[in-house]
Symmetry: C2
Subunit: 218 residues, 2 copies
């Protein structure tokens, strides 16, 4: 019982900080996208394809969060050339609003139209912590299986949009698109669903167009 | 700072409970294996292949932990016929020793030689919580990438053995076995590493043989 109360307290303090993050991004007129998924679902790779599709129109920044290693920030910087920072969480399994705020300050919000936050690869805890973002983009990787929305309910409940990734291997993994949508719908009646393959580029333009509309109407 | 102290307190209480779990499994002469990985790395599928390879010699029980859904317990029961229970964590991202103890009691330890606990699919939090098991078997799925030990250090530090899964798709995902071992070795100098494909059965006999030795020498 005690643990639950502590958690509620942590979450309510986090929600308070979320207001500060939103005040900052609104003041600076920047759209803030929180990208979440399991480990290795393809967040970084998808970003390296989405960013070139958006960077002619918008000034983009990226925050890469990891428990350890600088690999993802180096990849994004090398592949896209946009302003990128690596945040280390010191073992933490999610990004709190305090971390989110500090990362935005470290990146520098001025002069940017959109910022992507690549959250810790974890289909559980990051969903509990509002990062102050304008959108939660949740990735569901084909090799994980189309049943994941059943097992990780909150992540799919908080999703603004779901991008299925690695679609090219769907036949190998017996991944059924209709079953995936049906399972997502059990958790979320309105999230937009996209089917993508960063390798072939399939579906990336549609997702980029969706984000473009969101960013323009911010 | 406060949060860290709370966490330390939770972990130290958990470690105390771990002694109770180990006292129980020792008294009943049962070997307890904690299986951990990312979501969809193939824990259930690997178990459905390992169990038939061990069930002639040993009496086996399985605890399936999930935030929601009974899918995995039904699969294991249907495929292997061994005693299986489904545990729901009510949103929790890991298994504490208290949960572990309650699940062992619900399953019934009497008359079993080995119990597999399939932990929540999460490469972060379950590594922090000792379940009272005799062994941590960590799965690394090929589609996740061979860099995961760099990003999720603690999980690979606490591993007694690492089973790489879905080896059949290694060429599609540019997964390098040597690089994987090198990355595992950065976190763990002695964990045994196995390369498996549950679909083709490759490597399953070697892993089963390794477990057989551990169970026999318990």
């Amino acid at each position: 019982m005690k643990t639950v109360l502590i958690k509620e307290d942590i979450l309510s303090r986090n929600n308070e900080r979320a207001k500060e993050v939103r005040a900052l991004t609104r003041e600076k007129n920047v759209y803030y996208i929180n990208v979440m998924s399991s480990p290795g679902a393809g967040k970084t790779t998808l970003l390296t394809k989405l960013i070139p599709a958006l960077s002619k129109e918008f000034r983009i920044g990226v925050i890469e969060a990891d428990i350890d290693s600088d690999k993802d920030a180096l990849t994004v910087e090398r592949e896209t050339g946009v302003r990128t920072i690596q945040m280390h969480t010191g073992g933490a399994c999610h990004i709190t609003c305090q971390m989110s705020l500090e990362a935005l300050e470290a990146l520098g919000v001025d002069g940017l139209d959109v910022i992507f936050l690549e959250n810790i690869g974890n289909l559980v805890c990051p969903a509990e912590f509002d990062t102050g973002s304008d959108m939660n983009l949740v990735l569901l990787s084909v090799p994980e299986g189309d049943d994941k929305p059943l097992k990780y309910p909150l992540m799919f409940e908080v999703a603004s949009a779901v991008a299925v990734t690695k679609l090219d291997v769907a036949p190998i993994f017996d991944f059924d698109r209709e079953r995936a949508v049906k399972n997502i719908r059990k958790r979320n009646s309105c999230a937009d669903v996209f089917f993508t393959c960063a390798k072939s580029g399939d579906g990336v333009a549609e997702l980029a167009e969706y984000l473009r509309e969101k960013i323009k109407n911010k």
